[in-house]
């Protein structure tokens, strides 16, 4: 665990303080009690999670926590003394809203006095109230929460925070408490379930205009009360919610009507498929290169990464060090985000290499043409003013199909960093 936290601190840069605090907090929590770790952390996360208006299907709790802490710090809520007390305070803040017995247990078991959560609430992000029905009476499992909250129409979509998480979460060494399959299993079950109570609660709510028992179905006066239209409305709302989630996924999307959103989604899927195709073209899947990596995979790359770092440090090429350390963990996400935002940074180079290797002999390096491409496309990410590591990464895809010219081509581009 040690090398990973060191790297994380070294590399996560601006994300480090809160992310590391969260990580340290989690580790402290783990070291703290004789409580069973997973259950304890589950309860912890379940206590924190309903306070956030997000769908938690398939989410990584620690990255959620990290992003929330980061936002909290960004909002200028004052630096917490340590991550642990902040977690405590967050939990207590939530406790003030929900008063679930489990959170009481949590606070007691953590063995620290609740640090005046009410008074400190001014320093926090205004954590919006979750669905009232969703919070209380829960078991500690995240699956229940996702089942309750996944279909709420007025809640922000699943992937509202997805982009933020994608940028932040990939920069952290987060821990995973649930297999994502659990969450994927929950929404279809919820989709099947919510039809039945909606039909039942639809008529009394529209008839009397009273507060519906489940916030999912809104009481609208003047609408027909027959089950067909209610089912239709529910179906439309669910579809709209999914469309919003997809819209959040697609970068640089600002369309709101269904047809153009579908258009963008289609284009994005095509782009990703093409990207995978191009990556498989430009990859050198040699057995010799793969074998050491297999050893890395099997050992979860813990030892392998440490050794690779040592070797790389001797080289003095920090970019290589970064790349090796990033293999299994993080931060390709943010680099790829930038590349995808441009849309074209990665592709032309790889396509060029693919075309060149397809037309010419695969082994013959073409330093002149390729380095020209490097120089031409490399300034554009710089002009957009973002991560300096992206040119080196996109440039590195070029020499992949060429045998000998690697060192010459990639070193000048790395010097730009």
């Amino acid at each position: 665990m040690q090398p990973s936290s060191k790297e994380m601190q070294g590399m996560a840069g601006g994300l480090a303080p809160s992310a590391v605090a969260a990580h340290i907090a989690l580790q402290e929590l783990q070291n703290d009690g004789g409580v069973d770790h997973d259950d304890f952390l589950d309860q912890m996360m379940s206590g924190l999670a309903p306070a956030w208006p997000m769908g938690l299907g398939g989410y990584d709790e620690a990255s959620l926590l990290g992003s929330r802490l980061r936002q909290h710090q960004a909002a200028g809520g004052g630096s917490p003394p340590n991550g642990k007390s902040m977690l405590l305070q967050l939990n207590h803040h939530h406790y003030a809203h929900h008063a679930s017995p489990q959170q009481q247990l949590l606070l007691q078991s953590m063995g620290q006095p609740p640090a005046g959560g009410g008074g400190d609430s001014g320093g926090f992000l205004p954590l919006p109230l979750s669905l009232g029905s969703g919070g209380s009476g829960h078991s500690g499992l995240l699956v229940d929460i996702s089942r309750e909250e996944v279909d709420a129409p007025f809640k922000a979509s699943d992937s509202t925070k997805a982009e933020a998480l994608y940028n932040n979460g990939f920069g952290e060494n987060h821990q995973h408490f649930h297999h994502p399959q659990n969450h994927r299993g929950a929404p279809p079950a919820a989709a099947g379930k919510c039809q039945v109570p909606a039909a039942a609660s639809g008529s009394p709510s529209t008839g009397g205009g009273a507060v519906p028992p489940r916030p999912r179905v809104r009481a609208r006066r003047g609408q027909a009360t027959d089950p067909h239209s209610i089912a239709e409305r529910l179906r439309r709302e669910r579809i709209a919610e999914r469309m919003k989630a997809l819209q959040e996924l697609v970068p640089n999307s600002n369309k709101t009507d269904k047809a153009s959103m579908l258009d963008e989604i289609i284009d994005y899927v095509k782009f990703l498929q093409l990207q995978v195709k191009v990556l498989s073209m430009s990859r050198l899947g040699g057995a010799a290169a793969v074998a050491p990596l297999v050893a890395d995979m099997s050992s979860k790359a813990g030892a392998g990464r440490g050794e690779a770092d040592g070797a790389a440090a001797n080289d003095g090429l920090t970019a290589a060090e970064h790349q090796v350390a990033k293999l299994l963990e993080e931060d390709m996400g943010s680099a790829m985000q930038y590349l995808q935002g441009k849309g074209l940074c990665l592709m032309p180079i790889s396509l060029a290499s693919a075309i060149s290797s397809a037309t010419c002999h695969p082994r013959s390096p073409i330093p002149g043409g390729l380095s020209q491409l490097n120089r031409r496309t490399a300034p554009s990410p710089h002009a957009a003013g973002d991560a300096p590591s992206s040119p080196s990464m996109s440039a590195l895809t070029v020499p992949s199909t060429n045998g000998g010219g690697d060192a010459d081509i990639s070193r000048p581009s790395r010097c730009k960093d």
């Binding site: 929404p187 999914r242 469309m243 047809a259 989604i265 289609i266 790349q323 090796v324």
Partner: protein, 196 residues
Amino acid sequence: MQVAEAFKHAFLKQMLLGFQASVVSPKSMGFQERKSAIKLSADVAMAVARGTRKWTRGLIAGLSKEHQNRSFLQLILGEQYERLMKPCHSSWKIPRCKKIVRRSLRVCCRRKKKKNQVGVLARTLVAKRTQELKILVPGGESMDGFSLLDETLDYVVSLRAQADLMQSLLTTIEASKLRSHSKGTLPERKASYVGN
């Protein structure tokens, strides 16, 4: 993102297993062969790492339609392959549900008595695009509108993760190659580093 660490690990492991199984090497294979072998490994790895979803089944079913892929798939998936190749029963239920939905739609429209030309046009556009999306997403033909969007969401997330992981794998291989290039000069550099 919704991509968990477990997915990343599983994907990378599967992919490397796939490389070994298909014996990918630049010497023995041509360019197209290598590309399709790598893509096959990557797709199978993505499907396996994600677990059981409609699109993963569709993806593996689509891949197994090619005869040359079958031995590879059997090798990689083992007994899972036989289980996955059983016909999907859910595909029969869906057309019935669509009929019911359409009927209820007609009933509602008749009741409201609206002749919405713009609505019809919009619906046609959406239908056309939905059809296109069904072609793109693997296994998409047998899904209704809502589950199609759901599967698309999942599929996009997995695709993005697949591209990222392949990219990072690529750069790592590159870095290791460069290191092996400069291995000859490594002892001197080490000495100088220690000296400083």
